[in-house]
Each structure stands twice: as C-alpha cells, then as structure tokens.
C-alpha cells in the first residue's frame, strides 16, 4: 500500500540550523496495516508523515502509494490517496463553513471540481447517515458552522471527512494530543471503529506509548530520523510500556507525556 525507499530529508541544509530529519527510511505498509509510530520530540515521526503527505520535497528516495510513484506529486495531487487528521483540531476543517459544506468538500477529494452546484438533497441524506456513526448528534446540525463545535467534535468530524471517501492510507498526526483525556479516548475509539469498518491502512503518529501498544497491529519507534524498532503481530502484543521505556532510555529520548499519557 505504502512503500518508502531510501528516504532522506535535511532541513536548513548548509546553515547552522541544519537538521537531518530523516535518514535512509525504508518502510513498507501492507494492506490493512494499522501502524502506531512513536518517538521523542524531533525523532522525525511527524516529518515522515508529512513526507508521505507531500508537505515538502524530499531530498532523496522515493514514495509509492498503491503502486503509484508519488515522489514528485504535490500535496493536493496526493490527496486522492490520503485521508489526513492533524494534531490541531482547527486545521482539518473550515471553521467558517457549515458541517455539510465541509463534508461536501471531503466527498470530492481527488475529484475534479466543476461548476456543478455543490450540495444536493441525496448527498445531505448520505452525510446524515455518516454523521450518525459519530454519536455526537451532528446529524441534526448539518447547517451549523464548524467553528461553533468543540475541539473533540471537530476532530471527530475531521476523522469522518478523512475516511468517508475511502483513502488508500489514513494519516493521523497525534490527532488526540490536543484533546482532554476523555475526549481523546472517544476520538481514538472512533478512529478504531472507522478504520475497522472501512478496512483502512493507517499510519498513526502518537506521543502516547499506551495508545501505541493498545491500538494497531504494528508499532514503529523512531529516533533521530531513523526507524529503530519495527514490530508487528504477536511480537507487538507481547511488548510492554517497560520495554519501550528501556529502549527510550538507551536512546536517551524521553518526556513526561509519554509516561503519564
């Protein structure tokens, strides 16, 4: 589904702030994989996600999505393969637009946009059906502006928008980090629900080791731009927070939210 070969990225090359963010990344995600990616600050996990999404040009290597070489594709061109949820709940939705307008934009991801009138009744019915799965009562608020929703509601809506039109790969960038613990749990459960229902291949960056262990069939740990651990299946199930802490201690990268989270 996703294939990354010999990926390198250096920011601010040739300056005093030079930072080698990704070093020789090789990664293959199989159909239906749910990968949790952990690592300390600056380990490169979000950078790797953004490289897949096309937020910047990579220095070397290649990226394939669903067999297509997307290395030279721009961000909006790759969008047809990708569903994305950001850390900041404000970034995934348009706050001044209505819930149904946001959904209509998402329902046309990867399609050519025309001069056809955007919203039709049958599409509204479809949106209502989709919103009902969130259990947030949003199906009765189609014309509410998204800016009036709470962070958790917005994140749930973003999740729906990212998965409604089935993406080849779902990219989650610490998408519960900005939410309170209770809301974070709701959004994570919803994530698992939607992923299972649509059988999505998922790449989830997280700060939280417990979440990384609890969710997904595969776990990747990064440090200083490299993948230092890649376990899946039974091996992953046996993994504990202590194992991960040991690994972190060896690499010297640790922060409070990983342990407390």
């Amino acid at each position: 589904m996703l294939e990354i070969k010999n990926l390198y990225k250096t920011f601010n090359a040739g300056t005093i702030n030079e930072k080698q963010a990704l070093k020789n990344i090789n990664l293959t995600l199989n159909n239906g994989d749910f990968v949790s990616v952990i690592g300390g600050n600056g380990a490169g996990k979000s950078t790797l996600l953004n490289a897949i999404a096309g937020s910047f040009k990579i220095d070397e290597g290649s990226i394939f999505l669903d067999g297509t070489d997307v290395t030279n594709m721009l961000e909006h061109e790759r969008a047809k393969f990708l569903g994305r949820v950001f850390q900041d709940p404000m970034r995934g939705t348009a706050g001044n637009m209505q819930i149904e307008e946001n959904l209509a934009l998402a329902n046309r991801r990867g399609q050519k946009r025309t001069l056809k009138w955007q919203l039709k009744q049958e599409e509204r019915n479809f949106f209502k059906e989709q919103l009902r799965q969130l259990n947030l009562g949003l199906e009765d608020r189609l014309e509410t502006k998204v800016g009036l929703l709470s962070g958790g509601q917005r994140q749930a809506l973003t999740l729906l928008m990212a998965t409604m039109k089935k993406p080849q790969l779902l990219l989650l960038d610490e998408h519960t980090a900005a939410l309170d613990p209770k809301t974070a749990k709701i959004v994570l459960d919803l994530t698992v629900n939607l992923v299972e229902k649509n059988q999505l291949t998922t790449f989830m960056v997280t700060h939280n080791m417990k979440d990384a262990l609890r969710y997904g069939n595969r776990l990747i740990m990064m440090n200083e731009g490299e993948i230092i651990l890649d376990v899946s299946g039974e091996d992953k199930k046996k993994l504990t927070v202590n194992d991960l802490l040991d690994l972190f201690n060896q690499t010297g990268e640790l922060n409070d939210s990983m342990i407390l989270g």
């Binding site: 909006h76 969008a79 348009a94 209509a104 934009l105 001069l115 056809k116 955007q118």
Partner: protein
C-alpha cells in the same frame, strides 16, 4: 446649533439621490472586494489600479464606437487579467499578498496612462455617446446600477455554491484543509483574484460613465472605500439579524454599506466640513467600524453596547 440651522436641510435631501447612485457603484466595487477580502482572506491592493483600468478601458472603447454594455464587459475582462497577474505574482513567484497587489497596482498606473493615450484623464460626453448611465439622470442611473447589482449578486450566489466556488471559500478559510482535500489552492486563489478584480473594473466602468470621464487617479484609496462599504454593511446587518447572514444577504449588505458610506460623505459635505479632510474622515470611519465587532464582542452583546 446655530450652525445646523444655518444649513439648508432641503439641499441635504436633494443630494441624496446622487449619493445613493455613487454609493451603489462603490457597493458593486465592494462586491468584488468582498471576494478577496472576506472569502479569500487576501488583502488585495490591486483594486486601486483595476478600478481605474475599468474606467479607462470603458471610456476609450465607447469613444472608439463600442456600445456601452460590451465596453463594460470588456472592462470586466481587463480587470480579470489584472487580478490574474496579482494571483500569479503571489502563487507562482511566492510574493507576499499585499506586495503582489501593490506591484500590480503600480504597474497598472502606467498601463492606464497608455490606455488613455498618454493622458491623465479623458472626458466622455453624454451628448455624443450613448451611455448606460449618467449623473444627468440620477434616477435612471440608480435603476441601471441596481440591475447590475442584482444580477451580480445572483451570479456570485450561484458561483460560490458550486464545487469550484466552495473550494475558493475553503482556500480562504483554511488553506491546509483545502490542500488535504485535494484542492489546488494556487488555482483557486488566481480564479478568486481574477473574478474580484473583474468586478472592481466593471464598477470602474460604471463610475466613468456616471461621472462622464475616466481618470488614472480614480481608484486611489478605492480599497478603503470598498472596505468601508463591506464593514458598515456587515456590522449593520449582523446587528439587526443577530445570526449568520445568508450569503446573498451578506453580499447585499456590502452594496447597502456603500450607499450608507456615501450618504455619510454627503452629510459631511453638507456640514461644510473641509473636503481636504475627507480621506482622514474615511480612514477614521473605517477604523471605527473595523474595531466595533471586537469592542462589542468583549461585552458579549450587540454593537450598541460599545458606547456604554
């Protein structure tokens, strides 16, 4: 008080139709500005130039024998071209929004002089040419401008409800989200800026016919007047309506705002305040109206509380 009584109320009322006509023309300009300022969230200073371009193109075409309506439509296209240049400066050459607009505006000054045949202004005599409107017949002019405003609002209402129009609104609202939904934000920006400046140029074409001449300096400060119209209209309508405005109503509010602005100007002139201070007055007025929503939000109530 004695000053007020010394003024002739009748002359104030007689000035109203003219103010309404002019205010509506600027209201149409504000419709164009609404696209860049409100929908795209792009402070586009191109408009100062493209308004004059519209006036110059219209006047020269009419003098060359082109009927008035096609002349105005060609002016619209000329404005689109100007907006397109600003859009390309910003999206392809990565120049900051305000600077992109200023560069096009400055360039247009020379271009407008060329359009006028290397003159700073050009008269357009209603006795020699058949015009769509003129200040000779203000009531008729108001009807013509009203027709333009209604048709434009209708077209804009439709366009921004289409898939392309919605992607423009998404771009202005949250560019990151638009990109993630597969929208090419460079395209949407160029389309929006073209359309915006096209409408501004069209209003310039109407203004030139109304006052009977085109002038390269016609658009100087246009963005401030357009902003005044948008802001006066939206503050007023939102405080009457107390909830989100329907898009067509929001557009109409800009036209009404233009009229109110010109009536305010009329009153200032009638009070015999020095006309040299007009720009100062406009700037203060816009600053006040720009700050009103924030002041009233703090109180958590309507605009009337800002004074409490």
């Amino acid at each position: 008080m004695s000053i007020v009584f010394a003024l002739n109320i009748g002359s104030l009322f007689r000035s109203f139709p003219g103010n309404i006509a002019q205010g509506m023309i600027w209201g149409i300009m504000a419709l164009g500005l609404y696209i860049s300022y409100k929908l795209l969230n792009f402070s586009d200073l191109t408009v100062d130039g493209s308004l004059s371009t519209g006036a110059c193109v219209t006047v020269m075409l009419i003098i060359a024998g082109v009927p008035a309506l096609p002349a105005v439509l060609i002016a619209f296209l000329a404005g689109c071209l100007a907006g397109c240049v600003t859009g390309i400066l910003h999206t392809v050459l990565k120049i900051a929004p305000i600077l992109s607009g200023i560069l096009t505006q400055i360039a247009l000054y020379s271009i407008n002089l060329h359009i006028l045949g290397n003159k700073a202004n050009q008269a357009l005599n209603i006795n020699e040419y058949s015009l769509l409107l003129s200040l000779r017949n203000v009531n008729m002019a108001i009807l013509v401008i009203l027709a333009f405003a209604v048709v434009l609002i209708g077209i804009l209402y439709w366009f921004f409800g289409t898939e392309i129009g919605s992607s423009i609104r998404a771009t202005g609202n949250n560019e990151q989200m638009a990109s993630a939904q597969g929208i090419n934000t460079n395209h949407t920006k160029v389309i929006a800026l073209s359309l915006s400046n096209g409408i501004v140029a069209l209003s310039g074409g109407l203004l030139a016919q109304y006052q009977g001449y085109a002038d390269v300096g016609l658009g100087r400060g246009a963005i401030v007047i357009g902003l005044a119209a948008i802001i006066i209209g939206s503050v007023l309508f939102e405080n009457i309506h107390k909830k989100d405005l329907n898009f067509a109503v929001a557009l109409s509010s800009a036209v009404v705002g233009g009229i109110l602005y010109y009536i305010a100007i009329g009153i200032v002139l009638w009070l015999k305040l020095p006309t040299n201070d007009m720009k100062l007055f406009t700037a203060i007025l816009v600053a006040i109206f720009l700050s009103v929503p924030h002041l009233s939000f703090k109180k958590g109530k309507g605009v009337t509380n800002a004074r409490d």
